[in-house]
Amino acid sequence: MERDDLIVNDSYALNAHHSEEEGVAIRKKIYLVTVILSVITAIEVGMGVMFKRSETFTWTAIKWTFIVLTLCKAGYIVMSFMHLGDERKNLRNAVILPYFVFILYLIFIAITEGLAHYGMDIMFH
């Protein structure tokens, strides 16, 4: 089994001092992510203004587009800004996997029960 408590290549946060050149590369990446996040937000706002909510398939597609774009943004923030992407794989999994298990279940149960509740309200209104 892979040992993850050993410090290899000075990667431990307290020891991780970057040189000027490394700093330039990291800043370049930060600015790139900034542009990506701003562009995604602009697209979201534009779509929000342009499209009206309705019962059509188009709106369902737009709704899912919003959710996918949001998850993209979240991914960039967590992996790049919070640099979870640079941490050990085990820490990454320990943070992300339990969260997704809980949240996906909660989303499933809340929407299912919410719609059932809606059905009963309509039936006994």
Binding site: L14, I67, F81, E113, L115
Partner: protein, 336 residues
């Protein structure tokens, strides 16, 4: 265990048990675990909102119709203000990550510069949110109920029959003076001459509000602006029952209290709005405070004595998390 001696571990980075799990410091790992639990709290709140919305029978307000005001301007700018708030928060997240990067290079003056800008961004965001809350509490002009059934010609040319009790919404400026007129009819007189409805606020700087249009189904689907003769038909069919702003217990009591607020058709919407944005705003507020504390630690050269800027990194994690939550609040409250 063959891997035991793979690398020399310096004593000052080991935890109490003589190891460094995940090869991160104890503080950083606990910050991550705290953020996971906090994310579950926010996830739970947003999912409760989803439950409420999925089970709602009455129409649900539409984000770009509920949020289209800009400070000091009349007219409609859907999502413009919240887009600005989102951008401010993203930029403050960028300045934070630049502060962390400067910390890794032991560049104290850059850390101070970027952290300072982050604090400014956070304060900007909080002020924007204060304005948005205030706008939501005071309402977009209020409404009155119809006293009797009326039939009007809708803007699309079709006849439209409205039941007694139906809500008719006023615009922001007119509604504001109407609210004052109801409290003080002499100080803010109402005149209706030649089919022209004017409210005048007397005083040192008298000003007027004209009735230009009334809205049906404000904030929800099929929003309709009614003008001209049809508008006057609605105006003349008004009852004594007016409602203004968000339901703040105690404040709306003059007009029948909580059930008569502008947003009472979907009480759940404003409840969740204030709770979730308030809880997020509290996180931003505490983030600004922690940022200020760490700013002064850096200023006093504490990090230089410790020989690392990990404290900046930890407060950075918290600050990015606040941005992360806003990304979801933005999508689920304003867009979908």
């Amino acid at each position: 265990m063959s891997g035991e001696a793979k690398a020399a571990i310096s004593k000052d980075v080991l935890w109490g048990g003589g190891r460094s799990p995940f090869s991160v410091s104890y503080g950083k790992m606990m910050m991550w675990y705290f953020l996971v639990s906090d994310a579950l709290t926010f996830g739970g709140l947003l999912i409760a909102y989803a439950f409420w919305r999925a089970s709602a029978v009455d129409p649900w307000p539409i984000g770009e119709q509920a949020f289209r005001a800009l400070p000091g301007l009349e007219g409609e700018y859907p999502l413009a203000y919240v887009a600005l708030m989102t951008f401010i928060l993203i930029v403050s997240s960028v300045t934070m990550v630049l502060a962390v990067e400067a910390g890794h290079r032991n560049d104290r003056s850059s850390v101070l510069k970027w952290m300072g800008l982050t604090i400014v961004g956070g304060i900007f965001f909080l002020s924007s949110q204060a304005w948005e809350w205030s706008h939501f509490i005071h309402g977009g002009g209020g409404f009155f109920n119809l006293a009797k059934e009326v039939t009007i010609t809708a803007p699309n040319g079709e006849d439209m029959t409205l039941q007694a009790g139906e809500r008719v919404y006023m615009d922001h400026h007119f509604g504001h003076l109407m609210e004052m007129h109801l409290q003080d009819p002499l100080g803010v007189p109402l005149s209706e001459e030649g089919g022209h409805v004017v409210l005048t606020e007397l005083g040192d700087h008298p000003h007027e509000a004209h009735l230009h249009g009334l809205k049906l189904n404000k904030y929800i689907e099929d929003e309709t602006l009614v003008e001209g003769d049809a508008m006057m038909t609605l105006w003349n069919a008004r009852s004594e029952n007016f409602g203004f702003g968000a339901p703040i217990p105690g404040l709306g009591a003059d007009w029948g209290g909580i059930n008569h607020s502008e947003y009472a058709t979907q009480q759940g919407y404003s409840n969740f709005f204030f709770f979730i944005t308030g809880f997020h705003g509290f996180h931003v507020f505490s983030g600004v405070i922690i940022n200020i504390v760490v700013f002064f630690l850096v200023l006093n050269r504490v990090m230089e004595r410790r020989k690392h800027y990990e404290m900046v990194e930890k407060v950075g994690l918290y600050w990015h998390f606040v941005d992360l939550v806003w990304v979801f609040v933005f999508t689920f409250f304003y867009l979908i």
